[in-house]
Symmetry: C2
Subunit: 309 residues, 2 copies
């Protein structure tokens, strides 16, 4: 269901991209870090505070032109629970600003444990009759190696709470083929098999857009597979990493879209976060530089796919 909201955001902004919030200390302007360290020391707390300030600036600069953000959990967990608190605060802040939030956690487990992840990241947690939201993102990335048991608990929350998931199908990294490209005895690749599972999991959470609440992660670095999967999985919305720093260009991601210019959202993390370093502009201009890069990326991609209908 959820991706209807994302698709609406994309259409309104005519921008099929998502800004990855994978903040490393190296990407953060010195003045932000120094202020945080002064208050909290060179500690996990200080670093987490710097991350949050950096994210806030990016969100403020992007929220009227970019439909979604994708914080990557690993970069927050690195700073312990202080970092995880920054993840929580970042999600809240982006939602307040009207952005669709995809937590990139690649979570996976089974049964009640997967249900716990689903409640944690997308749904709500009950405490003696009180209902509280823990992280409250709009969508979560998921690893489907464990099969249906690991996805079913999410589908209920997708349905009831209007949320979505993106299952890893064909990832953007060089070694993704070691398992994912292997051919099964029915002639299908592993990634295609996973893609087919997404189509079938999605049947129970179909949106008005024609795309279900079960999306797929397919890397920009494999344009041929992107095109193959777009045709084979007509109800599966794609989250496409690998644009920019990992080597994928606008031409490479074009096959991810359907004939209406819909069906996919393209992620850029370092390209946007580090635009100020690439430009060589003043550190205080980091958010403006991120906005310039987001506009450049938008225009480059929509130049290939045209109007998003």
């Amino acid at each position: 269901m959820s991706f209807d909201r994302l698709i609406k955001n994309i259409r309104e902004k005519q921008n099929p991209t998502v800004a990855g919030l994978d903040p490393k200390l190296d990407y953060i302007p010195g003045y932000i870090k120094e202020a945080a360290y002064e208050k909290y020391g060179k500690t996990l707390e200080g670093a987490a505070q710097a991350l949050f300030e950096f994210n806030k600036g990016l969100i403020d600069a992007l929220c009227d032109i970019v439909p979604a953000v994708k914080p990557q959990a690993a970069y927050y967990e690195m700073y312990g629970w202080y970092g995880v608190r920054t993840l929580e605060k970042t999600i809240s802040y982006a939602k307040e600003k009207g952005m669709f939030v995809i937590t990139d956690g690649k979570r996976n487990d089974i049964g009640t444990t997967m249900q716990a992840y689903a409640k944690a990241h997308l749904g709500t947690t009950e405490i003696e009759g009180e209902t509280v939201s823990a992280f409250g993102a709009d969508a979560l990335t998921v690893n489907g190696y464990l099969g249906t048991d690991g996805v079913k608990p999410l589908l209920e929350i997708c349905k009831n709470d209007d949320k979505g998931i993106f299952v890893l199908v064909k990832t953007s990294n060089p070694s993704s083929g070691e398992l994912q490209d292997r051919i099964l005895d029915d002639g299908n690749t592993v990634y295609r098999t996973m893609g087919n599972m997404c189509e079938s999991w999605g049947e129970s959470v179909m949106g008005e857009s024609g795309y279900s609440g079960v999306g797929a992660v397919v890397g920009a670095t494999y344009p041929e597979q992107l095109g193959e999967l777009r045709k084979a999985l007509p109800h599966t919305f794609f989250l496409v990493p690998g644009y920019g720093a990992q080597g994928g260009g606008a031409k490479d991601v074009a096959p991810a879209f359907d004939e209406n210019g819909a069906g996919a959202v393209i992620n850029s993390s370092r390209g946007i976060m580090c635009a100020w370093q690439k430009e060589g502009c003043e550190p205080t201009e980091y958010a403006a530089a991120a906005r310039r890069e987001a506009i450049r990326m938008r225009d480059e991609i929509t130049g290939f796919i045209g109007e998003i209908k």
Copy 2:
């Protein structure tokens, strides 16, 4: 490397088991919850505090007879950053008490992102020259769907910091076969292929015990595959979930061990955490009941495999 420490713990205690710390509020005695709610309210903070008190009691009761604990990240993330702080505190407390700590997070990603997870959960984080430990577990469960790029960043930390990983190979859930049992064009199953990858990843982090720092998760619910994999993967240490509540018995897990009674550690979560409810004893006796169940489980398993040499 890491599993040498775990194996030493197992041998000293003659107990090849790990206590899963997957605390749900339903498992926690009322008096613990009430004390926490009184102080912090029926909030994420209150729930997280109850979880920690419950875990502490279990660790105190188990640490001289059980070699390891396995907190499952999902049950902490459910309570937001307060829950994650309880995970952090639980790991520290168990380590203080001499237990080997396996964080069950099934993390997976690529390149620098996987490195961030590796630093977060096993290694250390650098903040402007200061080195801090975020979660600091001894081992982490990992999903290998993304191939070598997703495992390599962990191997360095396994080597340098004497840590270990357990890669999902054949999981304990009913639908694990949907992908994992599929046959590839070379005649191998997907799970066997993943197992072979573990053997090869482990070559660079071989321990004195003959087992590498790259272990495998293989479910007790599939005893035949357990036996097959034990023979096929002589250097891969097994973490075996699915004993007890999921249906696996001591006879089912016996094939996980080598001829010395080594090579595997069997997890029980609900069996130990909920022993007081099953026994129907006083809630204040919950930790003593957990200990009784841990002893029963130990004796049942060692009854099958004999002395651990």
